[in-house]
């Protein structure tokens, strides 16, 4: 035994894999002290709140066209002004939040469900099953999300659903790799051996030992993937292969105003800022969660 148990940042037992934290009390303390976690949750709740509010109320009808009011500057009536069809920009942005959240939830849901399942199967089955699953994941990595979406759209036609599907499919290998890597790390621990020695089946071990120990990594990755999904959807809508009119979408707002930026630059600023703030909030939240949930778990993007 050496002095490895000594606290201290460079000599601390970072590879000893010892649990230092995760006592409930210290989780709360760390949570409140963690600045990026706080900032992230505030931004994310803002987004969620905005989307929620827009379900019941927006300053104006986001789809109502009013040519006389087109390209109005910000005023008391239209806080952020109007677009080229006279629609209220604030209302569109608020409603657009719904779209982003929906895309994020569904796409991450698809990726999470299938990815984690595949990763856990790969880690518990080992051998050729693991090899096969991982090779398929590698293969999927060769298709960038946009390309995948383009192919889907090319075969099935444009539309929000296909875009979400493409984003979700693209997230599968990421979750699968992460789940497998973290699950393998847990499988090699002695407490799993102890559970095997106790006679537990691989499924029970996965459920009782593996999953609880990797859930924090998965949650962190889910927030990051949520952010990526919002970005990807915006890009696809911008290219015209994402959500279709009249559904308000931040990405499509940008493509619609592109020719007008020289007249009224703010038209391009608002939706972009909305995307950036959403993504920033989710990324900060993910970063914070990573530190708060478990400071020792290694994570890879």
């Amino acid at each position: 035994m050496s002095d490895k148990r000594l606290p201290g940042n460079t000599l601390a037992s970072h590879k000893a894999g010892r649990t230092v934290a995760s006592a409930p009390a210290s989780i709360w303390r760390r949570t409140l002290e963690h600045r990026s976690f706080l900032a992230g949750s505030i931004l994310t709740s803002l987004l969620a709140g905005m989307a929620l509010l827009s379900l019941f109320w927006t300053p104006h009808n986001p789809t109502r066209i009013n040519i006389r009011q087109r390209l109005a500057s910000p005023s008391l009536e239209h806080w952020l002004g109007t677009d080229q069809f006279g629609r209220d920009i604030l209302s569109i942005i608020m409603t657009g939040a719904q779209n982003s959240i929906m895309v994020g939830v569904v796409a991450v849901g698809i990726g999470l469900l299938f990815g984690v399942m595949l990763g856990l199967i790969a880690a518990s089955a080992k051998g050729w099953v693991e090899e096969l699953i991982m090779r398929v994941c590698d293969f999927m990595y060769a298709f960038p999300v946009i390309l995948l979406a383009i192919m889907l759209v090319a075969t099935l036609g444009s539309g929000a659903i296909n875009a979400i599907l493409a984003i979700g499919i693209f997230a599968i290998p990421t979750f699968a790799r992460l789940a497998r890597a973290s699950a393998n790390a847990i499988w090699s621990r002695e407490f799993v051996l102890a559970a095997q020695a106790a006679g537990k089946s691989a499924i029970r071990i996965t459920w009782e030992h593996i999953l609880p120990n990797i859930v924090s990594v998965i949650v962190v990755q889910a927030t990051v993937e949520f952010a990526l999904a919002v970005l990807a959807e915006a890009a696809l809508s911008y290219l015209g292969i994402g959500s279709q009119p009249p559904t308000p979408s931040w990405g499509r707002m940008l493509s619609e105003v592109q020719t007008l930026v020289f007249l009224n630059p703010w038209l391009a600023v608002y939706p972009g800022a909305a995307i950036a703030m959403t993504v920033l909030g989710l990324n900060l939240l993910g970063d914070g969660l990573r530190d708060v949930l478990d400071p020792r778990l290694v994570y890879k993007r």
Binding site: M1, S2, D3, K4, R5, L6, P7, G8, N9, T10, L11
Partner: protein, 333 residues
């Protein structure tokens, strides 16, 4: 003349849990060719003491006291001066030969790196010296081996390479931190034999850090027993092992199972020290051992004992050393 003087050295670490007092008021000196062992359990401050002598404490460490090498005050050295001393006058062997070598460089390069840093050598000279050094530490086919990468060597060979790196500039002082903990007993015997031979050959001072009393006894003349960051007992190897006076030392010695080829100790209970090694952040106010000591009184718990000089080679920090010695004499063994 002394080579190394450590005077009232204290090391504390600022951690999330609070300030950890890793080493408290450690003092000793070492002449050229002297050998000193620091023995203790995990968290007793032995590795921190070693890293302090090498100026390699983590950034969150605060050091007070003095460390002098040939009368030069090391704690006031600039980083550049430290770099000139490390690997040149003081060298260190680490515990894990597996992770202590850089996996992406051939071993020859890792040995020569230190030579080029401190001496003006031509490439041919360095190469020649490296081959000689590898032969000295007992690696066969040295000329061939130096092109090898760490993962191509066995654990014992890697530790030999670590020793070669430490010896590259013939340091005056060698610090060995648990040099054999990660290797098998048969390899341990070879490595210890090698270190023993080399400190004679190179006339180096040795500070050996180990939790293993057997390793300590094999290599050094003088021992410091540390507990909770404090030197509780200091003395010659013979004194410490045959006539210990601190209750911790006594407890430690009797708790070790040993091979006694003549009698059977089987099924006999080992004497134990109750409790666990203290947390450095939350140390007893008085004697660091007071919460595990059967002899502890209120004074022990509140006022740290001052070392008592029993003989020229024996110092003990304990209020009840007479009772502890009496207990040891009539002890279970």
């Amino acid at each position: 003349m002394t080579l190394l003087t450590v005077d009232d050295l204290s090391v504390s670490l600022d951690t999330a849990q609070g300030r950890a007092q890793a080493v408290r008021d450690l003092s000793f000196d070492l002449g050229p060719g002297d050998t000193l062992g620091i023995v203790g359990e995990s968290g007793c401050g032995k590795t921190m003491s070693a890293l302090a002598i090498l100026g390699l404490l983590p950034d969150n460490a605060v050091t007070t006291g003095a460390i002098r090498l040939n009368d030069r005050d090391l704690l006031n050295c600039t980083e550049a001066e430290w770099c000139d001393i490390r690997g040149n006058q003081i060298a260190m062997i680490f515990q894990e030969p597996m992770t202590s070598l850089n996996p992406v460089h051939p071993i020859g390069r890792q040995i020569m790196e230190g030579m080029f840093l401190h001496r003006a050598l031509s490439k041919a000279q360095a190469l020649e010296e490296t081959i000689r050094l590898l032969e000295t530490v007992g690696i066969q086919n040295a000329a061939e081996r130096l092109k090898h990468y760490p993962h191509q060597l066995s654990g014992g060979q890697r530790q030999r390479v670590m020793i070669a790196i430490a010896l590259a500039n013939q340091p005056r002082l060698l610090i060995a931190d648990e040099p054999t903990t990660a290797v098998d007993v048969t390899i341990q015997k070879q490595i210890l034999g090698l270190i023993n031979k080399l400190i004679d050959e190179f006339d180096m001072g040795l500070v050996l850090i180990s939790h293993d009393l057997g390793v300590i006894a094999k290599l050094v003349e003088r021992v410091i027993v540390m507990y909770g960051g404090v030197a509780v007992e200091t003395g010659s190897v013979e004194t410490i092992f045959s006539d210990p006076a601190h209750p911790y030392t006594c407890g430690l010695l009797s708790a070790i199972p040993r091979i006694d080829r003549s009698t059977h100790s089987r099924h006999k209970r080992l004497p134990t020290i109750p409790g666990v090694v203290p947390d450095l952040v939350d140390m007893p106010a008085g004697c660091t051992f007071s919460d595990r000591c059967s002899l502890a009184t209120d004074t022990c718990r509140t006022v740290p004992p001052v070392p008592v000089v029993l003989s020229s080679h024996h110092q003990v920090a304990c209020y009840h050393l007479d009772r502890a010695r009496a207990q040891w004499q009539t002890g279970p063994r």
